[in-house]
């Protein structure tokens, strides 16, 4: 049994890796090495890292187009992730998916999806298959609060409750669906209330303390695994960057951003680690190893080959 100090240090490293990885991605984007859309998770790391720490290898993960974190946590290498952003054949989707479509079958990462809410039924489908086979796997589905207003979300939620599917729905409420704040999207401030109408368990908490996130999600995962009962979790979080790289985020104030940064999950973890006796030296080592990993993945992505023209059609049909 790993002690809690080491567990937290591991989760801290994951969060730092996600942040440094995405900072490097933002830089590469500004250099024109990454194209299309690039949605950064910076600020939200506590959510995915905490939630996925509650899973087993056999469990399934489905997420949105803001998907880098989930892949990195599930075990997709930083090299395969960065190469995907660079559109290289060494990427986790062979350069065919890009930022929004990270897939990793071996790690049961069922992908990042670009149509808001359209992936929520997919996740329920993985849970359906798990129940059909009785293999004990749980599906976890991430989506933003912007998904809470679209039909696919409501239908998947209703069917998962009706059929008692082993799934945990995690609404990453980062306060804005693109530039629209929640109060202009929904008549209620509490997204988790959606669970009530379909007779589903729910939970709601802020993602500042990564261990708390893990423990709260673990309750839902246990409920899914042992009782085939789904849960809707509203995970309160905040993204520091714009919706995507093209968004300067002028719909919110610097004061608001500064306020939210006080709840930063990495800062919080650093404090908690120091309280557990982790030295500055040890933290510096973790950060240095992350920086080396990120530097290496950028170099790898840069030097990797482009996919061959034959890949345009190769994977359209089995």
């Amino acid at each position: 049994m790993q002690d809690e100090r080491d567990v937290l240090l591991g989760l801290y490293r994951q969060m730092v890796l996600i942040r440094r990885f995405e900072e490097a991605a933002a830089k590469a984007y500004s250099q024109g090495k990454i194209g299309g859309f690039l949605h950064l998770y910076i600020g939200q790391e506590g959510c995915a890292v905490g939630a996925l720490a509650a899973l087993e290898k056999r469990d399934y993960v489905v997420t949105t187009y803001r998907d880098h974190a989930q892949a990195l946590i599930r075990g997709t290498s930083a090299r395969a992730c960065m190469a995907e952003l660079f559109g290289k054949v060494t990427g986790c989707s062979k350069g065919l998916g890009g930022s929004m479509h990270f897939f990793d079958a071996d790690n049961h990462m069922l992908g990042g999806y670009g149509i808001v809410g359209g992936h929520v039924p997919i996740a329920a489908g993985a849970a359906f298959a798990s129940k059909y086979r009785g293999d004990g796997a749980v599906a976890v589905c991430f989506f933003g609060e912007g998904s809470a207003t679209i039909g696919a979300f409501s239908e998947a939620l209703g069917l998962a409750a009706l059929w008692k599917l082993p799934i945990v729905f995690i609404c990453e409420n980062n306060e804005y669906s693109m530039g629209t704040p929640l109060e202009r999207s929904l008549a209620v401030a509490d997204v988790s209330q959606k669970a009530v109408s379909v007779g589903m368990e729910r939970d709601r908490f802020r993602c500042t303390d990564v261990l708390e996130v893990r423990d709260r999600v673990a309750v839902a995962v246990k409920r899914a695994r042992e009782k085939n009962e789904p849960t809707l979790i509203e995970a309160l979080t905040y993204r520091y960057r714009g919706h995507s790289m093209s968004d300067p985020g002028k719909y919110r104030t610097q004061d608001e951003i500064d306020e939210r940064k006080k709840l930063d999950p990495i800062l919080h973890a650093e404090g908690a680690l120091r309280a557990k006796g982790v030295s500055d030296d040890e933290l510096a080592k973790v950060n240095a190893s992350v920086e080396a990993e990120v530097e290496d993945c950028v170099k790898f992505a840069d030097e990797s080959a482009e996919p061959d023209e034959s890949l345009i059609e190769a994977f359209n049909y089995a």
Partner: protein
């Protein structure tokens, strides 16, 4: 010496052929299940799934609430991780609310995951105009779906094809859309016994002829056959009829071969005239058989209008033997 193995034939109705195909595949593969509105307790809105709930149980014959996007997506997700779902749309009209699941997920997952995930799934149900079901329940939806790479589109016209292609669809590792037809469900035909599976992308010549080729699919085979018979009886031009059977992949080669013999082509389909697989076929034929054509290719299609409820007007909106005859006469007179 060629040994002929005689396969016993049985007469079935189209809906029974579909049901038999699904039941046989469910027997041989535990991963196959059926999901849709009223497929179980109600025995199917059109009785295609009649008796399957009693035979296979509620785990594998699953009644859904009215949530096409939800259950289509759930089936796609289940297929991604190894199951082989059959999704019934009560009619293909209702697939429109699940269109994003088919377009953005089922058709895209293999390509955008770099080949890591396949989606072995069947979407099926009746397509096109039934009888006086009016504007919202009469769409010939194949015209939309045939355009999408990543899926296969099957439009069986005969009872034997209904069974053989349904089995092929269930065994295929790609998303396959089987567009059936309410007006065909009651038709009878011979079906070979045994495990007969048809390959996708091979058209069938339903009637040999010399003067004009009629290329068609689905229930429009019937007015083509009727028009050809009438012409044969009256000493008119002799029609060769090609049933395309699958629209993606689309076997235009059989049509080109036929046109090389007849020099004339009429494409007959129920869907609207604007674009679609009929226009795609015409494009391919003019490129590959330009030198063989003695007349412009004509299309005999559904009218460019929302389907009227009134019976007389509905009949005038869908091609029938009379409109096929008029098109044949037009290409012959050129």
């Amino acid at each position: 010496m060629r040994v002929m193995v005689e396969s016993r034939m049985r007469e079935l109705r189209y809906r029974e052929a579909l049901r038999e195909a699904m039941a046989e595949e469910m027997e041989r593969d535990e991963r196959v299940f059926i999901m849709g509105e009223e497929v179980g307790h109600y025995q199917g809105a059109y009785k295609v799934t009649e008796g399957l709930l009693a035979r296979f149980g509620a785990k594998r014959v699953i009644d859904t609430p009215i949530a096409e996007e939800g259950f289509a997506g759930i089936a796609i997700g289940a297929a991604m991780v190894g199951l082989r779902p059959i999704v019934e749309f009560m009619t293909w009209n209702f697939s429109a609310v699940a269109f994003d699941q088919i377009l953005s997920n089922a058709a895209k997952l293999r390509q955008m995951s770099g080949g890591q995930f396949t989606v072995p799934i069947v979407f099926r149900g009746p397509n096109g105009a039934a009888k006086q079901t009016a504007a919202q329940h009469s769409h010939a939806m194949e015209t939309f779906y045939a355009q999408i790479p990543g899926i296969k589109v099957v439009v069986p016209a005969t009872v034997a094809d209904a069974k053989a292609f349904m089995k092929a669809a269930i065994r295929d590792d790609n998303p396959v859309l089987v567009l059936e037809d309410e007006r065909l469900y009651g038709t009878k035909g011979e079906v070979p016994d045994g495990d007969h599976v048809e390959p996708f992308g091979v058209a069938a010549v339903r009637r040999a002829g010399e003067d004009v080729t009629l290329a068609t699919w689905g229930k429009m085979l019937l007015p083509c056959l009727e028009a050809a018979e009438q012409l044969a009886k009256s000493g008119g031009p002799s029609c060769e009829i090609v049933d395309l059977r699958t629209l993606r992949p689309l076997d235009h080669h059989t049509v080109v071969e036929s046109v090389r013999k007849t020099g004339r082509l009429v494409v007959v389909h129920e869907a609207w005239p604007y674009g679609g697989p009929g226009a795609e076929l015409v494009d391919r034929v003019q490129r590959e058989a330009f030198d063989a054509l003695d007349a412009p290719v004509l299309r005999c299609t559904g009218r460019d209008a929302a389907m009227p409820y009134n019976k007389k007007l509905e009949d005038m909106t869908i091609p029938d033997a009379k409109t096929v005859l008029a098109a044949v006469r037009a290409v012959m007179a050129y």
